[in-house]
């Protein structure tokens, strides 16, 4: 069972990654941590280069490329048309080519269950972060219900990291924390409850929650405690 502490460890390792190869290790640790068979990240950059990190067999990745499956794969086709994460079962597998693709995939060890997160980066960048496993429908639904938010965030953080390695990349336009976000984290850090912080900042708790959510994402954190720790270690707030 995953714990926030373990996930934080993965994010720290992701942060510290300096090479593309390092990302492969992160993908493997995600599988181990969540107890799933496969995880993968795939991005085609503006120059047409593929970035793929994943745990599928070499035979399958080769097969996928040789057969040019991106043109058939319902996961790719489906995710390209939407912003929201999708359970593979909800995609259109009705065409003959899709069914043949599915058969080939399962023969190559791809799980019968899957969940994919489409990621839109700057300048029309599109990437896909997927997890896959072999299990009953019910177990998979439970897994997704328990972990989808963490997976969504991890997918986006992974993409953020992958973008750092793009050649000729424009300098990072890091999103700074707003004064409001800094105030909120500082007050939470010194032990105020959300209600107290909201009152102190003269905003409603709902507004505060949006600030916190946004700050968490900017800091690459999974939860508020983690976000405060990161803000402190980056010297953004002083407690």
């Amino acid at each position: 069972m995953t714990t926030k502490a373990e996930l934080d460890k993965i994010l720290k390792a992701l942060d510290a990654t300096k090479t593309l190869e390092g990302l492969q290790g992160i993908i493997e640790s995600i599988c181990a941590e969540f107890g799933i068979d496969h995880a993968m990240y795939h991005w085609v950059d503006s120059a047409g280069d593929h970035y793929y990190f994943g745990t599928y067999s070499d035979a399958w990745t080769t097969q996928y490329q040789t057969k040019n499956y991106t043109r058939i794969d319902p996961v790719v086709l489906g995710c390209y048309q939407r912003f929201h994460p999708v359970d593979w079962k909800r995609l259109d597998w009705s065409t003959k080519s899709a069914r043949e693709f599915l058969k080939d995939a399962s023969e190559h060890g791809v799980g019968n269950q899957g969940y994919s997160i489409p990621i839109r980066g700057p300048n029309g960048q599109f990437a896909l972060f997927s997890v896959s496993h072999t299990c009953e429908d019910e177990a998979w639904e439970k897994f997704i219900e328990d972990h989808s938010r963490d997976l969504i965030l991890i997918g986006h953080y992974f993409n953020r990291k992958a973008l750092e390695f793009e050649p000729d990349r424009r300098p990072e336009q890091a999103q700074p924390l707003s004064p409001r976000e800094l105030d909120a984290l500082t007050l939470l850090g010194i032990g105020y409850s959300r209600a107290q912080v909201a009152k102190t900042l003269s905003i409603s708790e709902h507004t505060l929650r949006v600030y916190i959510e946004s700050a968490r994402f900017k800091l690459g954190a999974l939860n508020t405690t983690h976000a405060i720790a990161r803000a402190i270690s980056a010297g953004l707030i002083i407690i």
């Binding site: 912003f83 839109r120 900042l201 409603s204 708790e205 507004t207 929650r209 949006v210 959510e213």
Partner: protein, 210 residues
């Protein structure tokens, strides 16, 4: 009935889509007098309609549009960060768990149930697409409508600090029972974190609004 459709798939229901864009022109231009663009076909569209947003539409029995809303994730271009940046103090709101909700529109023919159905749709979207919060800029007049949806503002913190003219946290998580949908029972449990945030105030000088 409720329909959830990405812009890219609107061609599969061209008449309904056309009717929605006409109703948007009617609501935002004719009735509210906002500075929005109407094209030759009489449709109100803006640059965000070109970004493949997700629409929720209420389809009337005759196939026409009864009401709708538009959603985009705040990780990409959204109005709260571009048009309403005076309300956020120029500090973008961004997270895959926060989506923007804009262009809340009701047809003149819409019955009283439509706004409620759209609220239900908003909650369904939160649950099924794993979204923790909605954000959106609203005209002050919307407060009354939001209140009518039983998403009554629980507390409002109007303030002028950090460039935010006034902000209002909305979202009592308990909509009145709107339909007999089996999921309605689950809302209180699932949506304790329902957070519809409205950045109140009409941005000037552009009277464009969400």
């Amino acid at each position: 009935m409720l329909r959830y459709i990405y812009a890219r798939e609107l061609e599969t229901c061209a008449d309904l889509a056309h009717s929605m864009f006409l109703d948007r022109a009617d609501q935002f231009k004719t009735r509210l007098g906002w500075d929005v663009q109407i094209d030759d076909a009489g449709e109100e569209r803006d640059q965000y309609d070109a970004l493949n947003p997700l629409y929720v539409m209420w389809e009337m029995p005759d196939g026409s549009h009864g009401g709708s809303m538009r959603f985009l994730p705040t990780t990409g271009p959204v109005m709260v960060n571009e048009v309403f940046d005076n309300l956020t103090g120029g500090n973008p709101i961004s997270s895959p768990l926060i989506w923007e909700c804009t262009r809340f529109c009701l047809s003149r023919e819409a019955g009283g149930n439509v706004a409620g159905a759209l609220t239900l749709a908003g909650l369904e979207i939160m649950r099924n697409l794993n979204i923790a919060h909605f954000a959106g800029g609203f005209d002050r007049r919307m407060v009354r409508i939001i209140a009518a949806l039983a998403l009554a503002p629980r507390s409002s913190g109007r303030q002028a600090q950090a460039g935010i003219k006034s902000a209002l946290g909305c979202g009592n998580t308990m909509p009145r029972p709107i339909t007999a949908s089996p999921c309605a029972q689950e809302f209180p449990r699932r949506f304790r974190s329902f957070g519809l945030i409205c950045l109140l105030g009409v941005p000037r000088p552009r009277r464009q609004c969400a």
